[in-house]
Amino acid sequence: MSEQQDYEPRIVAFLCKWCSSAGSDLAGVSRIQYPANATPITVPCTGAISPMYILSAFNKGADGVLVSGCHIGDCHYIEGNYLARRKMHLIMQLIEFIGVEPNRFRMSWVSAAEGAKFAQVITDFVDDLQPLGPQDKLKKAERV
């Protein structure tokens, strides 16, 4: 049990530059505290996130992957988040098929004005990942 509590899930968070990255900046400006488990990678648009990135993150040892972008209809690039939503829906099904808990992958919509929501998304994700323990289904075996 104590081992479970010490476990810190490692999360890669893909944030779109215009909404969610700006939203995470707002969380910072507002000094809203949230767990340090997620490392952000800012991309131009969620539409630019290749499904390979998600698999690559799991393969490199991520316990959870977050994709966060502009609300549907608000994409800076017109329709990038629609494209992302379709791809991510498939990824969700694929990882479940492979045997990875679908809870390890999450997609959220956080606008530039939603600093508090960003902090909440990370907090909730960490809370949900904790009981799952480390992800090793897709993790590449250590080279000897």
Binding site: R10, Q33, A36, P40, A48, S50, G61, D74, H76, E79
Partner: protein, 649 residues
């Protein structure tokens, strides 16, 4: 590829970063990276000595790329890229690792914060390793501007831009320009007549040789980017030729249709053919298609029969106008919070409970009652009037969390106007506290309290309802600690200001963000208050936040000066971070062509080709390509994979 020589500059940001991130450790860890040739920490990297040290270090150590680990790239990316350029290296080889907003400010645990800061910094170092030097793309600028919204903010912005020699298109949704200010009776704190101040500006903007006025028109679609926007506007038919209309008013006499007059806030009625106000610009009648019996001489046609000027034309059709502009000012204004949301204040169903704008129309000489304050229900002079402030404002639990800023002042003004119209009347004001910051504002409120004998009661109203021909207002006076009960003849609610419906719509059309309260978001709350996050789109007036007329005019002027500065450049530099095809990998499957939202990709000779003028660099193509044959420059798939690895190392 020769090995990169990257310099990593770790900023303490005073204690903003250093308090929760071990900056020395970040620098040490980065020094261990294969491509890092130099590391340095400094207390304020963005200060003059900090920037100089970056330039010097680049020169002294023959660095070819730079990572600054500091605040958000939104703040200082440009600063440090300029420094890189000053030191003689390409500015696109400089990247920012955000370890303040995304790390030190949100994690109190220093060990965990430091660990995350190292991951973020390392991922950016790996990204920079594969950054290619490149030059910004020069694009020509369309030297024309557009202002959306014809209230005082839009009028002022249009005039300022036009006076600088730039052509402006002013687009207004309503049949007249003037906006909310045209509905006001007098303005605080000078009590000068709102229309007398505004009308000359309306006429000026109408007559200005460089202003193209499009009323009764709505922006439908905006494409392009800073310097070159393409805007589609729908001009709705008014069915009246403004050049022929002589304003004789014969048509309204014969029109059989009566509908509520929205320009008078439904206090009066109008005909299907109408003019919003006597001062309307353009000075012409408008035929309201939705109210008219059918735009058909067989059905009615009375207005057309009596029009001697032959100005009425039932065959007018909606027109789509396309304008090319280099910059856009959004000045789409505010609405009042809907009374229906306030059941304790009658929910809009109790007679003689008015909102502030309706009261303005009652006081206005051109308004519903020709400037006599009369209750709408029986047209009698109200002798006891209760004004309630902060209705819907400052109530985070149920309504709007923010202060609507102008209500303290306009309520004081309303009380004074009321006492001027009805000297023997009694005015009561319920308030939470008085916020009267502004030149001459506090003195104005004091005069209202003292000279005009207005009774200010500190407290909120809990309920109001009709009782024996009066409106029973139940509230508390928190200063005396007693409950108050007033039998009022009329109640005026200072409802919260909310972004107008047009503001919400245009934010979607323009893809510019809104803040948590729904107002248009500025690019930076302090340093870029009139710019939207999107380049070339500027904000003015109450669409950005509640504000009074002088502030609105000032912001409109500021937005105009930004537009003028932008459009005085002959070319603009555009980000070169756009898509690039690796022809050897491309099989010409065309999936990227379908994914591109800008139709910037086409197939030529069995290979994808990117139109560099159209590509915005969103990367949808690269995420779609099965063979990784197309990438956004400096955000390539290889770079992202290496960043992922760094995040998990």
């Amino acid at each position: 590829m020769t090995k990169k020589r990257t310099g990593v500059f770790v900023c303490h940001c005073g204690t903003n970063i250093a308090a929760t991130v071990d900056v020395a450790k970040v620098a040490r860890e980065m020094a261990g990276e294969n491509t890092v040739a130099y590391t340095q920490e400094y207390v304020y990297m963005c200060s003059e000595p900090g920037q100089e040290s970056v330039v010097q270090a680049i020169k002294d150590n023959q660095l070819d790329s730079v990572v600054v680990t500091c605040c958000s790239p939104n703040l200082h990316e440009k600063t440090f890229r300029d420094n890189a350029q000053r030191a003689g290296i390409n500015n696109f080889t400089c990247e920012i690792a955000n370890i303040r907003e995304q790390c030190s400010w949100v994690h109190n645990d220093k060990a965990k914060g430091t660990e995350k800061a190292i991951k973020i910094s390392r991922s950016i170092v790996r990204r920079v390793n594969r950054n290619k030097p490149m030059d910004a793309i020069a694009v020509n600028v369309t030297r024309r501007a557009m202002v959306i919204g014809g209230g005082i903010a839009g009028i002022q912005a249009a005039l300022d831009i036009a006076n600088a020699g730039i052509e402006v298109t002013l687009v207004e949704k309503q049949a007249t320009i003037g906006g909310r200010m045209l509905q006001l009776s007098e303005t605080f704190p000078t009590l000068d007549c709102s229309q007398c101040v505004l009308s000359p500006k309306m006429v000026e903007v109408k007559r200005h040789p460089r202003v193209k006025l499009l009323t009764y028109s709505e922006v439908q679609e905006v494409t392009g980017s800073v310097g070159n926007f393409r805007v589609k506007i729908l001009k709705k038919p008014t069915y009246v030729d403004p050049d022929k209309c002589k304003l004789c008013d014969e048509c309204t006499v014969v029109c059989p249709v009566v509908v509520p007059n929205e320009y008078e806030l439904n206090l009066t009625a109008r005909r299907a053919i109408y003019i919003p106000y006597a001062q309307a610009i353009p000075a012409s009648f408008t035929l309201d298609e939705s109210a008219c019996l059918g735009l058909n001489p067989i059905v009615c046609g009375k207005c057309k029969d009596v029009c001697e000027a032959d100005a009425i034309n039932y065959d007018m059709r909606p027109e789509t106008i396309t304008e090319e502009v280099g910059a856009i000012v959004v000045a789409t204004g505010f609405d009042l919070y809907d009374q229906e949301n306030m059941p304790e204040m009658g929910g809009g169903k109790v007679e003689d409970v008015l909102d502030g704008l309706q009261f303005e129309r009652l006081c206005s000489a051109s308004g519903a009652t020709q400037g006599h304050v009369l209750r709408p229900s029986d047209h009698k002079e109200p002798k006891d009037v209760v004004f309630i402030q902060c209705v819907g404002s400052r109530d985070p639990a149920k309504h709007c969390a923010y202060c609507s800023k102008i209500c303290c002042m306009y309520t004081a003004k309303h009380a004074r106007l009321y006492k001027k119209h009805v000297p023997d009347g009694r005015a009561y004001v319920f308030y939470i506290d008085i916020r009267s910051g502004g030149k001459g504002y506090e003195e104005f409120v004091q005069r209202t309290m003292e000279d005009d004998d207005t009774l200010y009661l500190r407290g909120r109203v809990s309920r109001l309802y009709r009782h024996n021909g009066k409106i029973k207002v139940l509230g508390t006076d928190t200063l005396s600690g007693q409950n108050v009960e007033i039998d009022a003849d009329m109640v005026v609610l200072a409802l919260a200001m909310v972004p107008s419906k047009g503001t919400i719509d245009i934010a979607k059309t323009l893809k510019i963000g809104r803040d948590k309260d729904g107002f248009l978001a500025e690019a930076h709350p302090k340093l870029r208050p009139v710019e939207s996050v999107t380049g070339g789109i500027y904000l003015a007036g109450a669409a950005q936040a509640p504000k009074d007329i002088p502030e609105t005019v000032a912001q409109a002027g500021a937005a105009a000066s930004k537009v003028i500065a932008l459009l005085s450049q002959s070319t603009l530099s555009r980000s070169p971070l756009i898509a690039k095809v690796r022809r050897s990998h491309c099989t010409g499957c065309g999936m990227c062509v379908d994914a591109c939202p800008y139709t910037a990709i086409r197939l030529e000779g069995g290979k994808a080709v990117v139109n560099e003028a159209l590509c915005e660099g969103c990367g949808s193509c690269s995420a779609t390509c099965l063979r990784a044959a197309i990438d956004v420059k400096n955000v390539t798939q290889l770079q992202i994979h290496e960043m992922i690895e760094a995040c998990l190392a």
